[in-house]
Symmetry: C2
Subunit: 335 residues, 2 copies
């Protein structure tokens, strides 16, 4: 069994903040990233929570991300917010952008936020969830270094590119939270199998010639299997167009890796759409969504996407989160 | 071999228009539907082109759709267009809505169109394509009577719910056109197997208890298999939230069937998002998209989604379309 230590969400946020500051991040950049780390731990996505703090620290130190970057915000049209992350953390760019996006969406009924020269934004659903908490339908896209080949090809052109959509519930919460990548499995799972020297199940990866393989190392040199075949490629292309082409960010095929210390800043992008459901539905939204989610949950043991994270979030707020002691030791060593 | 007769696109549009008028559709409602039918035939999607005209005529006559409906447009906020299709054709509602959506998106940078009390909109990509032709990134969602069960359940709650995204190219065309449903296969394919008394391949449908089956009739009483498992359910739920909950349309679980003459108007919905890529990318969009599509096409024989339809469209404009004679006979019998 893994040794754990239970921390409150406030303690997780403070520890993350202190470690990021110690690594050379400015207070303005450390704060939103620390907050998102606590939200990620609250949602039970441990793989992208505190475990990433030592990676963030290393990336500030090697220059993959500029800890002192100042995001540059422009408002080219009344419903468009554009942020140049200036090779800093995505979280700061999102923070600055959301401050404009949320009121613009409420005022005009819809607004978009395009972010370029950015970095891995962690769990995408943490960001769309904030839009739902503000009473908006939040849709998000983020691109990543290429690892999925187009149908019929073998060379990766697009990343595992997730999208997320969060629907607002009646109590200021995300009633539905969909957050899914375009591949059958997360790339981090394949990397984990490589580290552990274990084969991966068939259907996870393809080798450099596009053939099925159970060798994770061959898969990392080859490509990730898209979820649902050509339809997964369609999702990855949609996300690439939204997060990179629509924002002017670097395409996944030209981006430096998110992992390791080499290659400099990936300069990838994010794109968010925030829509006022009251305006588009004439007030029918809340009841319609409740009817839909009720019909899903009415089936024995069936959950709405986001229910699992929601339950963990409620529990974490009351009881804190049990964190891996080895992870905590690594973070405390940074202070 | 099927007997065919070659018609120009103008002839297809005129024939569709005349048949719809003869069936009791008003000129304002027949015109956009006839135009979309020609566009659908041009794109090579014969299953949803002229073959649907006799079905549309029947549905006008049985009252599943009101051929004389007048869509009601409201503009609740500066970037929101709302249309009540008034149980008429989706195409008329989209036509009226796009007249406001396109200039609003260019003015504010993004705008949305929510349609309720609508009907099957045919090929969704025909509509998003028009937004791309106007220089906008066009995203569309449309819901359908429930046929996909949530993960872990057996009872359908959402339809095969497609989404579509069309990206504008430099010559007023859709450079990328993604148009895909949430199921592994279209429901119409399963219905075709039922009519022909043939079994379907495994992985297409599930029976009423949620078990795999190759019996298409059992599948139609059960549910459609979502593409990529729970990720397909995620897509279907996203589309349901956008097309129905966000527009105030009828949920797929409560909608009357699109096929047959029973149950009255389905009153389902559509939702479109139109975004100005020049505004969001600071002008970088066109070059970025060109780099992305070039990288896909550089691999031997690999196509960008929409390339197939694009090639057929070019050919159809020059040479017309070979139409099934039996289909033409059915349509001409309506005149």
């Amino acid at each position: 069994m893994t040794a754990t230590e239970t921390l409150t969400l406030a303690e997780i946020e403070q520890l993350s903040y202190d470690a990021l500051i110690a690594a050379g991040t400015s207070p303005e950049n450390a704060a939103p990233l620390a907050k998102a780390t606590a939200m990620t731990e609250a949602d039970g996505v441990a793989s992208h929570g505190l475990a990433y703090i030592p990676i963030y620290a290393e990336h500030v130190q090697c220059g993959k991300v500029d800890g002192h970057a100042k995001p540059i915000l422009t408002l080219p049209k009344s419903s468009v917010v554009q942020v140049d992350a200036a090779t800093g953390f995505a979280h700061s760019a999102i923070e600055v952008g959301f401050e404009q996006l949320i009121p613009a969406a409420k005022e005009q009924g819809v607004a978009v936020l395009a972010i370029k020269n950015s970095y891995n934004c962690g769990v995408l659903g943490v960001h769309t969830q904030r839009l739902a908490q503000a009473g908006l339908m939040g849709i998000g896209f983020t691109n990543a270094p290429a690892s999925i080949a187009p149908t019929g090809g073998a060379k990766p052109v697009v990343g595992t590119n997730p999208f997320s959509i969060s629907a607002p519930g009646p109590r200021g919460q995300a009633e539905v939270l969909i957050d899914q990548s375009a591949s059958t499995i997360a790339k981090s799972e394949v990397m984990k199998h490589t580290r552990e020297g274990k084969p991966v199940p068939e259907g996870w990866v393809l080798d450099a010639e596009g053939n099925p393989t159970t060798d994770p190392t061959a898969g990392l040199k080859g490509s990730m299997v898209p979820s649902g075949g050509y339809k997964g490629v369609g999702i990855a292309l949609m996300v690439e167009m939204m997060a990179a082409a629509m924002s002017g960010a670097t395409l996944g095929k030209d981006a430096s890796p998110f992992s390791g210390t080499k290659g400099g800043p990936p300069k990838t992008g994010q794109f968010f759409i925030a829509i006022d459901p009251v305006a588009t539905s004439g007030g029918a939204f809340e009841a319609q969504l409740a009817t839909l989610t009720k019909a899903v949950r009415a089936q024995n043991g069936v959950r709405v996407p986001g229910d699992g994270r929601g339950t963990k979030r409620t529990q974490a707020a009351k009881e804190g989160v049990a964190v891996n002691v080895a992870t905590l030791q690594k973070i405390r060593a940074l202070l």
